[in-house]
């Protein structure tokens, strides 16, 4: 006798009409029924609107909550952005030689243990003859050069400059392979290089420390003493700046023949091989490896030490990555704590909000809000605030990183991924910290809630 009003969770419009006019219901009992999923979507959208309304009606509370989450997200985003920028700077710095250069040396640049050090020391030195053989036999190689380094004190008049990297190189193409360019003056000629003359090309730091910062053109032709011998400065290099506090401009290039005259062949040299393009790198490495193995007595057995180290610049990047990974984790972790604090702020304010709005919850329940409706409303409120806070935090974070980057001086990388992550994580924080207050609100007894003031 009564129309089946509660077939679906909600009244359809037709059934609403039935309510208005019971006669109509009997005619059109099946009515027009909306699908369950549509109803769910509508309910969610309505919950969203309800939440939006209540957030707009409580501007002070909303903005306080926002601040909590903005600070947390901004901290994480700025730290991540700065780290990404630093990483990028390191990567570009180390690859200034390009991915077209690799080296042959007696010892690898990174030695992990004493045992390794002993093993590598037993190897034969890499010599100028090795370099010549590589240049002769490696068809994929473009340019081959050698370099030897020593730390030395430079002197001019009564000035001293300690711990300068004195680098003996040949041929002059090594400047190019090293990624160095002349600022003022010139590089030595091949003839000068072979003759073992005492001439040098210095980095800008030498000017600062020995010549009181005199301009480069006034230093050309001046004398500087390296290992007690007088060298004539014929050129000054363009600055490369420093990396991790170590200046790359505290350097003096001298011809390799001169280097040998002073220091003998007492230490192994490093052979630099450059290929015309990255695609030839693998072939060139294979050829060089074959040449070197032949010269080391044909040890093809992988078990035995091949007697030399073949390395690209990637080893630095690998080392950098390993060394900094943990530091970054800790830094991001510390920044993430502020996000947790932000979450607690959200939870606290949501709890206050539930207490403050007990009456409102009572009214809503009295007129038909189910537990789920109240829960959804408070959760959506929490998530909306935190997602919005996350978005503002991401922008603030990028802004902060931009400022810091401008102060330190490195290029900034703004990644969409970290922005999405920032908003995503803060939304999750919103759900987690909103859950308990929302549950408390949903559980309130309507009679008690209505009675509260």
């Amino acid at each position: 006798m009564y129309p089946p009003i509660f077939v679906s969770r909600h009244l359809t419009q037709m059934q609403m009409l039935t309510r208005l006019n019971p006669e109509a219901g009997k005619v059109a009992a099946p009515g027009r029924k909306r699908s369950a999923s549509f109803l769910r979507l509508t309910a969610l959208w309505d919950a969203f609107l309800v939440a939006l309304g209540s957030l707009r009606q409580n501007k002070l509370r909303t903005s306080l909550t926002l601040v909590g989450i903005v600070v947390g997200v901004a901290a994480v985003i700025s730290v991540v952005t700065i780290i990404q920028g630093l990483d990028n700077k390191v990567a570009t710095t180390f690859s200034s030689q390009g991915s077209t250069v690799f080296t042959i040396s007696k010892r690898p640049q990174i030695i992990k243990s004493r045992e390794e050090f002993i093993k590598f020391n037993k190897r034969k030195d890499v010599t100028h003859e090795d370099a010549e053989a590589i240049g002769r036999l490696c068809s994929a190689c473009w340019r081959v050069g050698v370099a030897a380094n020593v730390r030395e004190t430079l002197k001019h008049a009564d000035q001293k400059f300690e711990n300068v990297n004195v680098r003996g190189v040949t041929p002059t193409a090594m400047f190019d392979i090293d990624g160095r360019a002349i600022d003022v003056g010139r590089i030595w000629t091949d003839a000068e290089g072979i003759s073992g003359r005492e001439i040098c090309v210095v980095g800008p730091d030498v000017l600062t420390n020995l010549f009181g910062g005199a301009s480069a053109d006034r230093v050309i032709g001046q004398e500087v003493r390296i290992a007690g011998r007088p060298f004539q400065i014929i050129g000054v290099l363009e600055p490369l700046g420093s990396i991790f506090g170590a200046s790359r401009d505290s350097v003096a290039y001298i011809p390799y023949s001169t280097y040998q005259k002073i220091y003998g062949a007492r230490d192994s040299i490093v052979v630099f091989i450059q290929v015309p393009g990255a695609e030839q790198l693998e072939l060139a490495e294979d050829q060089v490896r074959t040449v070197m193995r032949n010269r080391r007595g044909g040890l093809f057995n992988q078990e035995e030490d091949q007697g030399f180290a073949l390395e690209t610049q990637d080893v630095f990047l690998d080392l950098y990555g390993k060394a900094t990974a943990n530091i970054y984790l800790v830094t991001i972790g510390v920044a993430a704590i502020s996000l947790v604090v932000g979450g607690i702020v959200v939870m606290n304010i949501m709890l206050v909000s539930v207490t403050e709005r007990t009456k409102e919850i009572g009214i809503r329940k009295a007129i038909g809000a189910r537990r789920k409706d109240i829960l959804t409303q408070f959760l959506i409120e929490a998530v909306m605030v935190t997602a919005l806070g996350g978005a503002i935090g991401v922008l603030t974070g990028f802004g902060l990183a931009y400022l810091i980057a401008a102060l330190i001086g490195f290029p900034l990388l703004i990644s969409v991924a970290s922005a999405v992550l920032g908003v995503g994580v803060s939304s999750v924080v919103g759900i987690i910290s909103g859950l308990w207050p929302a549950w408390r609100a949903a559980r309130l007894d309507p009679i008690e809630a209505l009675r509260s003031e």
């Binding site: 006798m1 009564y2 009003i5 509660f6 969770r9 909600h10 009244l11 419009q13 609403m16 309510r19 208005l20 109803l39 509508t42 309910a43 309505d46 309800v50 309304g53 209540s54 009606q57 409580n58 009456k359 409102e360 009572g362 009214i363 809503r364 329940k365 009295a366 007129i367 038909g368 809000a369 189910r370 537990r371 789920k372 409706d373 309507p446 009679i447 209505l450």
Partner: protein
């Protein structure tokens, strides 16, 4: 006890509800049918019976006042009728549904669809407009926004507030607020309009306006239940049920 209170059928003879009697099947012709309703609260070690064995019926379209001094159990009865609470014992049938065995969410649904509340202190959302307040039950009823807007506007027009739909409660007079609350109560076309001291916060003149409105709504076919302690207000109803000490003391048709 008037003849109209219980519809006499061979199965359910009209007897005084206050008298102890064996449980009767609910009267399917009544909109509200309460059978031997008990409500017991635990106060420390003591059990307090707010209602002990109340039974009555309300047919569709009746205008009834429930009257009684404070502590009589009338608030408890109102909470039960409004489905805000369930009885400790007994059966409550509302619009052919046994409400007494429902869980929280089912009760919420019944409140949404079958009950329109009007409170003494209006209980409007302070920061929401009149229109939004009236739309609220429809939101929980799952009505789409266009339809909702239309229905809420209609309901506000029906209480002569068509020109106040964008006003917030604090921009309205007490009488206007109560009319917004009445529009909200009626917007879902509930089975009953349940008013708890609807004029308790209003001056005499405004009170009379609200009572006139109730009369009009009753004339339009609505079932109205007014809970009050004021004899003047109760006198406007067509039937008065007096509660004292958790029992129905008197049940009389006055009009």
């Amino acid at each position: 006890m008037s003849d109209a209170t219980l519809v006499s059928t061979p199965e359910t003879p009209a007897v005084l509800p206050a008298e102890p009697r064996p449980p009767q099947p609910h009267d399917s012709n009544s909109l509200i049918s309460m059978r031997d309703i008990w409500k017991t609260y635990q106060m420390g070690s003591e059990q307090v019976h707010a209602l002990h064995g109340v039974s009555f019926d309300i047919p569709k379209g009746e205008y009834i006042a429930i009257i009684g001094p404070s502590g009589s159990g009338k608030s408890t009865l109102m909470n039960l009728i409004g489905c805000l609470d369930t009885p400790s014992k007994g059966e409550y049938w509302l619009n052919a549904k046994n409400v007494s065995e429902m869980d929280d969410d089912e009760l919420a649904r019944i409140r949404n669809q079958e009950v329109g509340f009007v409170f003494q202190t209006f209980n409007l959302l302070a920061r929401a407009t009149a229109l939004h307040n009236v739309e609220l039950p429809l939101i929980y009823g799952g009505i789409g926004s266009a339809k909702r807007h239309e229905m809420a506007t209609q309901a506000l027009t029906a209480v002569d507030l068509a020109d106040r739909i964008t006003h917030r409660p604090n921009e309205l007079s007490g009488g206007q607020r109560q009319r917004v609350a009445i529009a909200r109560a009626l917007v879902n076309h509930p089975s009953i309009l349940l008013a708890d001291e609807p004029t308790g916060a209003l001056d005499t003149h405004t009170s009379m306006e609200i009572m006139d409105l109730f009369e009009r709504l009753h004339g339009e076919g609505n079932t109205i239940i007014v809970v009050t302690h004021e004899p003047d207000i109760a006198a406007r109803a067509h039937r008065v049920v007096s509660i004292r000490d958790g029992l129905i003391e008197k049940d009389e048709k006055i009009r």
